[in-house]
Symmetry: C2
Subunit: 126 residues, 2 copies
């Protein structure tokens, strides 16, 4: 999804990062039976709630977990993305959320088996 | 808001960026009269709608504009943040949105007069 326009980058005079990690959990809900489905229909709201509670219990500082509108990777949801790294995950269960919290936000690594990749793209519209 | 935990960073084996720029516009709404106010009460929803329309009209590729839950900078809203740079803005008008689109997303620079800084932090809870 990147293109040849100007590459964006942090500039030296930018303020410091406001959050160390900013997590956005897609909580978009489409009507039942929609061909793409939706992250909320796949259970994302409960996983978001659980992630917020667990992050607080773990005492993770500088981290914000937000819901977001449709991130447009519906077919691979529940989808979440962690910035500034721009790493995407698809947790299906609370255990998956625990694995992401531990591997990514506590240890600064990756829960690779739960990551979305550049191959996880929606089919063309139409 | 950063702390001394493990610094997060892009890893070489991470997938390429899925979006060139991912914009999150706070659309949280609190009840009228809440001491912190809220971005929706400050007009963020209409500005988000306008931003989506204008970004499409400008033909900006690889960009996603999403609504988000409370970004916790309510006092300085309407708040939006653009990742992966992590640059925050507070647009008050459509003209401000135009300035952000042009300076940041078209030209790859900054609309500095509209940016939030590290000094724009909410007062302590209590």
């Amino acid at each position: 999804m990147t293109d040849a326009l100007t590459d964006l980058a942090v500039e030296p005079q930018d303020p410091p990062a406001y959050f160390r990690a900013h997590v956005f959990v897609c909580c978009n809900r489409r009507p039942d039976g929609h061909r793409r489905g939706s992250c909320a229909a796949r259970g994302s709201e409960a996983l978001r709630d659980y992630m917020k509670v667990r992050a607080k219990e773990l005492g993770l500082g500088g981290i914000r977990i937000n819901q977001a509108g449709c991130l447009d990777r519906c077919e691979f949801g529940p989808a979440l993305v962690i910035y500034p790294e721009g790493v995407w995950y698809s947790p299906q269960t609370r255990e998956d959320v625990d694995a992401i919290l531990q591997a990514h936000l506590v240890e600064g690594g990756r829960a690779r088996q739960l990551m979305l990749t550049e191959h996880d793209v929606p089919p063309p519209k139409g």
